[in-house]
Assembly symmetry: C2
Homo-oligomer: 409 residues x 2
């Protein structure tokens, strides 16, 4: 299939408006609230953190997605996560949604909310409500508004993350856009962190959920920054149907086209998050091929990018390949090291360092050159089957520690 | 029961000699080989890494322990791990043991070997053999020799780790001593890293194995430095029977006495390893009480000390308690956050920060004071049962990254 990337992020699809504001929830002198809105009702789907300790907003959104009712808006704040906040936290979600109902005339139970930031701190409800009132007057269907929203939801992210694509479904042009934020407490155990997708496609709600649940497995669930699965991970997709394609009600060619576009968008945002992990200087990719099963390939590649020792070696451009084999060894996947080949790859070259159980002599300078690129891949051939998977992470740096040793101040 | 700590480490028990030498395997200007030896044959037991990628020396020792034959010696080197080294690595184990056989007249299959250091690099066999030949002439049953051995096996450890205790079994004085080394690639998934215990007790081999396997669960398996389960983790215990107690052949009072001493020694060494984790400035302890099951208590406490975000908060004296709850939430143990109480504890005081689902207001200065101690405890009351467990780790610091970004150079 063909698709074209376009401007606009969450505002790219027809009928979606966005906005943001400085609500001063915790940050000062920057935007910290965003809203995405569709006047037309949307089918919605989502995936959420597997953490037992779920933030109030996650519980709120799960209820909306499960209800089967249409969604009209999502309100996001950065700075405070609204997790571990008891009844008061739940009430903050309700107050936010009620403010949207008053301002825009859509039902409170059509308004999703999402929060990211410090856990265990209460949200200032008056500031949230004031933020909603202010934002309801500045909604715009413009690329600039989409970009501004993607900036307002950032915490320790260094760059905003957005993308949009257009593609053809049954002769109609469909648009799918999205925004996401990282960049710490990120580990794949469901969807990961906050990501919001908007599309004007017409699709059955159950198929929308199936498509996103399926795509997440090889995109957002394959990234890790620090092994900490957040209390707040939320991925929401809203589809308002304005593309006027024949509604997708089974897994026909149109569904496959949509699924491919969804994969492209999710993979782009996931890679962006991994490469912008807290303190990261590089994107660290692990590609495992010829594994026994798909799940083995996923487990092995995730173990490689998840290991602190591997991540520190990537930071130091140290071709200490034993750490990658060690991580594979404790991953939970069973294999024989005598079957394994391991390579380092980047735009600067490709180098084999391990061959069926035996370490190879190699040129250290060449290894450093390969590992000095902005994107470094550890490529592993298991020679045990035909399944493959790719996982993404980042290096472990001084700055990760610095950012997290006193995050609250 | 009562026991007394004594000098001597692995040489404290009757009939155990030790030595060390500068073999220049990878390090220069420091000792890097050690040997522990008992002329009297020893019952032996061990636990080994669960990593699928097992070092050659681990496979060698597993074979010896499983054989049922007596053990006489263990030879250890630091600098190179002899992991991912294929047939050549296995042959290096054999050559080392054969050198002991030639020098000391004990069978090669009574000689355990252990290695720690870089993975994927071959050991220089000539240097190993020369080291054994040299060491076989300098064995001593002295406290100084035990201490010297504990220093020779260090890698990134900043302090050596040894202990010995005496206790009474059926009117006979029994001694149990040990040494261990950390301090990176440490994560509980079997025994952890290298630890060697010697005792003069008389005990049946199967009971020795049962005792050590049992004690490991709440000692070495409850520590973590970085979540990386090594390829080389080895815990060996040798019992030469010179205490002349009535041989322990069932789980009588004598067995319980020995088990308690073993627990004390293993807990001491495990805590020492955790507190001396790579780059660590503090021991970070998590105590979980009133959990549903023992396994829940273990999983929860390990998740707390294993979280990078928790570890960075401990480093920064940041009472960001949401990170601990978040780690508990993704641990795999199911619980209701509304049952949970969470406290910070140290020699400087005790402070509750979370009470049955609700964050408490607290004095930040007092929190910093508590967290500034050398040993900081996160105490969690689950209010769901009556089981408890304690896990040990360390803080995550700039130095951890520094040590690991270029470990090989």
């Amino acid at each position: 299939m063909e698709f074209t990337t376009v401007e606009g992020g969450v505002c790219a699809a027809k009928g979606f408006a966005a906005t943001s504001c400085e609500a001063n929830i915790k940050y000062e002198d920057r935007t910290d609230m965003a809203m995405v809105y569709s006047k037309n009702p949307c089918e919605c789907a989502g995936t959420f953190t597997s953490n037992v300790v779920k933030a109030a907003c996650v519980q709120w959104d799960q209820k909306i997605v499960a209800s089967g009712k249409p969604m009209h808006a999502v309100v996001v704040n950065s700075g405070i996560a609204n997790a571990c906040t008891g009844q008061e936290g739940w009430d903050a979600c309700g107050a936010t949604a009620a403010a949207v109902e008053r301002a825009l005339g859509v039902p409170a139970d059509s308004v999703a909310v999402a929060s990211t930031g410090v856990i265990g701190m209460q949200l200032p409800v008056d500031k949230l409500v004031a933020g909603v009132e202010s934002m309801s007057k500045t909604l715009e269907e413009s690329a600039a508004a989409g970009t501004a929203a993607s900036k307002a939801i950032m915490t320790t992210d260094t760059v905003n993350k957005e993308i949009a694509v257009t593609f053809s479904v049954g002769g109609k042009m469909v648009t799918l856009g999205g925004m996401a934020k990282g960049s710490g407490m990120i580990h794949p155990n469901m969807c990961t962190m906050l990501a919001f997708l908007t599309t004007d496609i017409r699709i059955d709600k159950a198929l929308l959920q199936e498509a996103i649940g399926d795509v997440v497995k090889d995109t957002f669930n394959m990234i890790t920054v620090d092994g900490d699965t957040s209390t707040n991970d939320t991925l929401l997709i809203m589809a308002n149907g304005l593309a006027e394609n024949a509604t997708i009600i089974d897994k026909n060619e149109d569904y496959q086209t949509f699924r491919e576009a969804l994969f492209f968008v999710c993979r782009y945002l996931a890679r962006k998050m991994a490469g912008d992990g807290e303190g990261a200087t590089k994107l660290f990719e692990a590609k495992v091929v010829n594994a026994k099963t798909k799940e083995d390939a996923r487990i092995l590649s995730r173990a490689i990018v998840g290991s602190n020792l591997s991540k520190a070696a990537i930071y130091g451009c140290d071709a200490n390949f034993g750490r990658f084999l060690c991580a594979m060894g404790y991953s939970g996947s069973d294999f024989d090291q005598n079957d394994v080949e391991l390579f380092f790859e980047s735009e600067n070259g490709r180098l084999q360092v391990f061959d069926h159980g035996t370490p190879l002599a190699f040129d250290e300078d060449y290894a450093v050159k390969i590992m000095s690129a902005d994107e470094v891949t550890v490529f592993v051939d298991m020679h045990e089957g035909s399944e493959e998977a790719t996982a993404w992470g980042c290096d472990l740096t001084y700055d990760y520690v610095k950012i997290n040793a006193d995050y609250r101040s």
